[in-house]
């Protein structure tokens, strides 16, 4: 599915995932974690991977010039 709108949406999603990853790594975000304090590196790594996947998907969705 090639669409500029989809590509922008996926890019924004990637940025959101990066922010969430940073918040988990700094211990600011404690959403759905086993402990209520400290950094959560496993969650941070997951969101980094999700961010990478989103940016890759955005590049795939971007209409290419010939």
């Amino acid at each position: 599915m090639k669409s500029r709108t989809v590509a922008i949406g996926l890019g924004v999603l990637g940025v959101v995932f990066v922010i969430i990853a940073v918040l988990y790594a700094l211990g600011v975000l404690q959403l759905f974690t086993s402990t209520t304090s400290g950094p959560h590196y496993k969650h941070a790594i997951l969101f980094v991977v999700l961010a990478v996947a989103s940016f890759v998907a955005a590049n795939f969705a971007r209409p290419k010039t010939a």
Binding site: L46, V49, V52, V56, K64
Partner: protein, 282 residues
């Protein structure tokens, strides 16, 4: 433990289940509720991941190169590029489920009864996968061919859909349950997606590597912080890797014409026997 884990990790018989059940039955001095037990198992898994990296070193170079090439270009043109994106797609559901359900699943680790029960479930799953595969073989009218010919009529790992890769990846999360085999459910998922047995095994092994490495990166520091005998644990990890390498070579050869159901029957028998031994305290 290293040899046990390495030998059982890639066979579809649940290394985690065996690592929980066998020490309990043999009265080995492992405290399964100890906070270093799971990181120790992860260290053994790292040995396995190392073996898989060695076994597939050329493919991993092509996959990593393919990933960056396709990601930058925004288009898939070669099979390694497609395989790289399939592996990324398959890793995400396992990662999400693993991260968010880890704590609840870990609480099950300490129970050999649970592991033995899930081993039986694993056996039933493996047999079910093969029954569904045999139906597919009948539908495609390949049942009159030899086994090797039958297998050739199914697809290679690079040919599966991205949806199938995601479903296989999600199946991988089931392996956080002790007794459910990661390779078993992912090979089974690959069979349902139309792969040859050997290709399903290859995809399963490739898919397992990033998850095991990521889990290791996070858990291993806890192991070293706990004041455990690091030298012995590292020796166990090396033994695990050696056993895993030999297992992988054997399985790739076996799956040229072999099926999952012998392992299914083994899991059911081993699970029931373990339950009996644990119940009667033998």
């Amino acid at each position: 433990m290293g040899l046990l884990q390495g030998a059982t990790e890639l066979f579809p018989v649940s290394s985690l289940g065996h690592s929980v059940i066998i020490p309990s039955i043999l009265h080995w001095q492992f405290k399964q509720s100890d906070p270093t037990f799971v990181p120790f198992l992860v260290l053994l898994h790292l040995g396995t991941a190392g073996a898989l990296l060695v076994l597939y070193r050329d493919q991993w170079v092509a996959i990593i190169r393919g990933f960056f090439t396709a990601a930058v270009r925004g288009r898939i043109t070669t099979e390694p590029e497609r395989l790289a994106m399939l592996l990324l797609t398959g890793t995400i559901p396992a990662g999400i489920l693993g991260v968010y359900f880890e704590t609840r699943i870990k609480s099950l680790f300490a129970s050999p009864y649970v592991a033995a029960a899930f081993l039986v479930v694993n056996g039933i799953l493996l047999i079910a996968f093969e029954l569904l595969r045999r139906r597919a073989e009948q539908r495609t009218a390949v049942h009159s061919m030899t086994r090797a010919e039958q297998e050739q009529s199914f697809a290679e790992a690079e040919r599966i859909s991205f949806r199938a890769a995601a479903i296989i990846g999600a199946c991988q999360a089931l392996a956080f349950l002790p007794g459910i085999s990661r390779s078993g459910v992912t090979i089974g998922g690959g069979l349902l997606a139309g792969l040859r047995h050997q290709e399903a095994a290859r995809f399963s092994f490739l898919l397992a590597t990033p998850v095991i490495l990521a889990a290791g990166l996070v858990e291993v520091p806890q192991l070293f912080a706990g004041g455990v005998p690091v030298g012995e644990y590292l020796a166990a990890a090396v033994l695990s890797g050696v056993a895993a390498y030999a297992s992988a070579r054997f399985l790739l050869r076996y799956f040229r014409s072999g099926r999952l159901d012998p392992y299914g029957f083994y899991c059911i028998a081993a699970g029931l026997l373990s339950l009996a031994l644990l119940h009667f305290g033998l």
